[in-house]
C-alpha cells in the first residue's frame, strides 16, 4: 500500500492540502481561497471559521484526486501564514473576533507606545525582534484592549489565543471536546512573547504587553506528534507545524549553518540557518527559530525580508502597462544588452532591511534619451537582485558565515534572466529545487520525520534534487561598479518624505 504525508499550507489567500510520496514528490493538490476582509484602511482580517471549513474540504479533495484512502496518510504537517492572530471561545470553538492578519497595521501606534524612550529595540535581546506592527503579540494586546470584557474572560481561561496552526491543531484534535492547545517554536518566535533563548513564554514580555498566560498555547517542537486527529482524517497523527518561511527553509533542506534559501514572491524572504546560535542582528535583520525536531536543540535563523520584488513587476505591468503578463518582463528585458545606465529603487513604502528608512521613496535614476522600456525592464529585475545582495551582505556581517550558494523557490524563479542576475550580483551559484512547493514540502518533511516515515535529515537531503542552477558570470570589476551605482541610487531615495507633511509635498 502506497503511503503519503499530507501537508496543510494555510496561507494568506488560500488553504491548500498537498500529498507527498516517500520520494518527496508531489502527488495531488487541492486548494480553497478564503475571503479577505478590509474593514478600515490598513486593517486586514480573516474569518477563522471559514479557514477551518476550508481545511475540512481540501483534505478529502486532495485524497480523492490522488485516489488515496484516509488510512494511506501517515501524518499531517502544517505550514501557516505567520503572525496572524486568532481568538476563540474554549467552550464553543467560536472565534471571538475576526483573525487579525499579519499585513494589518492597526498596532502601529501601540508599538510606538511600547517602544517608549528605549526605542524599537526595547525587547530585541529577549525575543530577537524589534517592535513593529508585523508581530502577533502587540496584535493580541490591541484586541484585549479594544474588546469589551475580553481580558477578564482570557484571565479566566475562557478565551484562547493562537496563530493559525494553533487554531487548526485545536480543531483537528477535537475542538471544544478535548482539543490540544499548542503552538510550535517557529510560530511562537514571531509573537514577541517568547524568550528566543528560553523557548518559553517570557513573563516580562507578557507583563509589558498585558497578556494573560492562561490564554496561551503550550510551546512545542516543530516536529513531534501533538495529537491524533478526531475529524477530517480520524486517527492520523498531527506531527508538525512551522511558519511558512521556516517550512520553506526546511523543505529546501537547509539543515546546516550557513545554508540559506530565498522565496521570491510578492515580497521575498531570505532565511539563513545559523545553527544552535542565536545571532542578534546589528543590521536590521530578525532573529527567529528555524525549526526544532523533537527534543533536539532548536536551530535558529536570521531572516531578511524584501518588501517589493514580485510586486515591482506587478507595478510595471499594472501601473505602467509596459507588459501584459509578469513573465513578459524577461522578454522585454532581453531586447537590450544592459540597463543603459538606469536604476530603479522601489522604496514604495520606505526602505526596509537592512536600511529601515521609512521616509525614503522610490526613484528611477540615470535617465537619458537613450533609455527605453527594455532598459527599464532590466532595471526592475536588477532591483530585485540588488535588494537580495543587500540582505545577504547584512547576513554575512551579522553571522560571520559566508553564503556559498543560494537556494531559491517561489513564482519568480521561473524568470531565467532574474535568476542569472541574482547569481551575478551575489557571486554565488543560485540553485532551484525540483519541487517548487517548498513550504508544503517542509511541513510534510517535518511531519514524516516525527512518525518515522523518513528516517533522518540525511534521507530528506537525498530527496532534494537540483532542477536548475545559475552560475555567476559577471566579472568582478563590473559587479563592483554596478553595486556602487545601485548604492548611489539608494542614497537618492532618502529624506524624501518630510516630517509633518504628506508624501511628496
Amino acid at each position: 500500500m502506497q503511503r503519503y504525508v499530507a501537508a496543510l499550507d494555510q496561507g494568506t489567500t488560500s488553504t491548500r492540502c498537498i500529498l507527498f510520496d516517500g520520494s518527496g514528490r508531489l502527488v495531488s493538490v487541492s486548494q480553497a481561497e478564503h475571503q479577505q476582509h478590509y474593514p478600515r484602511p490598513g486593517w486586514v482580517e480573516h474569518d477563522a471559521a471559514e479557514v477551518w471549513r476550508n481545511v475540512t474540504r481540501v483534505v478529502p479533495e486532495a485524497l480523492e484526486r490522488a485516489g488515496a484512502a484516509p488510512e494511506q496518510v501517515v501524518a499531517i504537517g502544517i505550514a501557516n501564514q505567520r503572525e496572524t492572530t486568532v481568538l476563540w471561545e474554549r467552550d464553543t470553538g467560536r472565534p471571538v473576533v475576526r483573525a487579525v492578519v499579519w499585513q494589518d497595521t492597526r498596532t502601529a501606534h501601540l508599538v510606538q507606545e511600547l517602544a517608549g524612550d528605549e526605542g524599537p529595540d526595547r525587547f530585541r535581546d529577549r525575543c530577537g525582534l524589534p517592535l513593529a506592527p508585523y508581530f502577533a503579540g502587540p496584535r493580541l494586546t490591541w484586541l484585549l484592549d479594544h474588546t469589551r470584557g475580553l481580558r477578564e474572560r482570557a484571565e479566566r481561561g475562557e478565551v484562547l489565543f493562537g496563530t493559525m496552526e494553533t487554531w487548526l491543531i485545536w480543531n483537528l484534535t477535537g475542538g471544544p471536546d478535548g482539543g490540544v492547545h499548542v503552538t510550535d517554536v517557529t510560530n511562537a518566535s514571531r509573537t514577541m512573547l517568547m524568550g528566543i533563548d528560553t523557548l518559553e513564554w517570557d513573563a516580562t514580555l507578557l507583563d509589558a504587553m498585558g497578556v494573560p498566560a492562561a490564554m496561551l498555547p503550550e510551546i512545542r517542537s516543530s516536529s513531534e506528534v501533538y495529537g491524533e486527529a478526531t475529524t477530517v482524517l480520524p486517527g492520523t497523527p498531527i506531527a508538525a507545524a512551522l511558519g511558512d518561511q521556516q517550512a520553506a527553509l526546511f523543505g529546501q533542506t537547509c539543515f546546516a549553518p550557513g545554508e540559506a534559501k530565498c522565496t521570491y514572491g510578492t515580497g521575498s524572504f531570505l532565511l539563513l540557518n545559523t545553527g544552535t546560535e542565536t545571532v542578534r542582528s546589528r543590521n536590521g535583520l530578525l532573529t527567529t527559530v528555524g525549526y526544532r525536531i523533537g527534543q533536539e536543540p532548536a536551530r535558529y535563523a536570521l531572516e531578511g525580508s524584501i518588501a517589493i520584488t514580485g510586486s515591482l513587476v506587478q507595478w510595471f505591468r499594472d501601473g505602467l502597462g509596459l507588459i501584459r503578463t509578469a513573465a513578459e518582463i524577461e522578454t522585454l528585458a532581453m531586447t537590450v544588452e544592459d540597463n543603459g545606465g538606469c536604476y530603479i529603487v522601489p522604496a514604495f513604502a520606505g526602505l526596509f532591511a537592512p536600511h529601515w528608512r521609512s521616509e525614503a521613496r522610490g526613484v528611477i535614476v540615470g535617465l537619458t534619451s537613450y533609455v527605453n522600456k527594455g532598459h527599464l525592464a532590466r532595471a526592475v529585475l536588477e532591483a530585485v537582485a540588488w535588494q537580495t545582495r543587500e540582505v545577504v551582505d547584512a547576513m554575512d556581517a551579522d553571522s560571520g558565515l559566508r553564503l556559498t550558494s543560494l537556494r531559491v523557490d517561489g513564482g519568480m524563479t521561473a524568470d531565467h534572466l532574474l535568476m542569472q542576475t541574482v547569481a551575478d550580483v551575489l557571486d554565488v551559484p543560485v540553485v532551484r529545487p525540483m519541487v517548487r512547493e517548498t513550504v508544503s514540502l517542509g511541513a510534510a518533511y517535518a511531519a514524516g520525520l516525527a512518525v518515522g516515515y523518513w528516517p533522518d535529515l540525511e534521507g530528506l537531503r537525498r530527496n532534494w534534487h537540483r532542477a536548475g542552477q545559475w552560475l555567476p558570470a559577471m566579472d568582478e570589476q563590473r559587479r563592483a561598479q554596478e553595486y556602487d551605482n545601485w548604492s548611489r541610487a539608494v542614497a537618492r531615495t532618502l529624506d524624501w518624505v518630510r516630517p509633518g507633511l504628506p508624501d511628496g509635498d
Partner: protein
C-alpha cells in the same frame, strides 16, 4: 472543391461591421445590420469573444473588436510565459521520468529551448535555455514541424544536414516521419542528433488546437527506447501526460 463555410463568412461580416462605424454595437444591432436571427448573431459574437477576437464592454454590454486580433501579427506565445506556466509540470515530468526535460518552440526554422529542467541525479548539468536545436533531428522539432506545414516547406528549401547516420534528411522520408507524428501524437528521435542519445516529445496546444510548443525528455537511448528504437511506453505516457497538463494550463489562462 468544397463550398465556403457560411458561419465563417458571417463571422467575418461581424468583424468588418465592428471594425467600422462607432466600433461598439449591441447584439440586436449586429443582427439587424447583417440580416441574421438574434440567436445566430449572439452565437457568433460569443464564439468570437471566446477566441479573443471580440470583447464585450462590461457596463454597456456592447461588443467591440478584441485584443486577440492584434496578436495575429505578433508571435503568439511568449517563450518566457510558456516556461512560467509550464514549470510545475515540466518539473514533475523530470521527477517522474528521471530524465532532463525541455520545452521548445519553433523559431526561425529551429527549436528554441524555452525551458530546461535538470535530470534529477544532481550530476553537473548546465542550463541551455535560449539554445537552439535542429528541428528535423530532435523529437521536439519533429512535433513542431508535424503541425506546421509552412515551416517544413521553408526548411526543405536547402539540403538538411545529417548529424548521425540515423538523422532523417531525405524530404520524402521526413514527410513520412512527420505524418507518423501527426497520427501518433508524439515523436521520437533515436540517435538522430547524437549517438547514444534519444528524445521523446509531445505537442503543447492552445485551446484552439494550435501547437505552440513541444515538451520532451532527453536521455541515453537504452533508457528511453527498446532494442528497435521504439520508445518505452511508460516514459511516453509521462511525456504525453505532461503535454496535456500544460495544454490545460494554457487553456485556463
Amino acid at each position: 472543391m468544397p463550398g465556403s463555410v457560411q458561419s465563417i463568412e458571417r463571422a467575418a461580416a461581424v468583424l468588418r461591421l465592428l471594425a467600422g462605424g462607432t466600433g461598439r454595437l449591441g447584439c440586436v444591432e449586429v443582427a439587424n445590420s447583417l440580416g441574421l436571427a438574434k440567436g445566430t448573431a449572439h452565437g457568433i459574437l460569443r464564439t468570437l469573444q471566446e477566441v479573443g477576437f471580440v470583447e464585450q464592454d462590461r457596463t454597456t454590454g456592447r461588443y467591440l473588436l478584441g485584443a486577440g486580433l492584434l496578436e495575429l501579427t505578433v508571435p503568439h506565445q511568449d517563450p518566457n510565459e510558456l516556461r512560467s506556466l509550464a514549470l510545475n509540470w515540466t518539473d514533475s515530468l523530470a521527477a517522474r521520468s528521471g530524465e532532463s526535460v525541455r520545452l521548445g518552440v519553433l523559431s526561425s526554422g529551429s527549436v528554441l529551448v524555452a525551458s530546461h529542467g535538470f535530470r534529477p541525479d544532481d550530476s553537473e548539468q548546465v542550463l541551455d535555455v535560449g539554445a537552439r536545436r535542429p528541428a528535423h533531428a530532435c523529437a521536439m522539432g519533429k512535433v513542431l514541424l508535424a503541425f506546421d506545414a509552412g515551416a517544413v516547406a521553408l526548411l526543405q528549401r536547402r539540403p538538411l544536414p545529417a548529424y548521425t547516420p540515423r538523422t532523417v534528411v531525405a524530404p520524402r522520408a521526413l514527410a513520412a516521419a512527420l505524418a507518423q507524428v501527426r497520427r501518433a501524437g508524439w515523436a521520437v528521435d533515436a540517435e538522430e542528433l547524437e549517438m547514444g542519445t534519444a528524445g521523446l516529445a509531445a505537442p503543447v496546444q492552445d485551446r484552439g488546437g494550435l501547437t505552440v510548443a513541444a515538451v520532451g525528455i532527453t536521455g541515453p537511448v537504452e533508457r528511453l527506447c527498446d532494442g528497435s528504437w521504439a520508445p518505452r511506453p511508460a516514459l511516453l505516457a509521462l511525456v504525453q501526460d505532461a503535454a496535456r497538463a500544460i495544454s490545460r494550463e494554457l487553456a485556463t489562462t
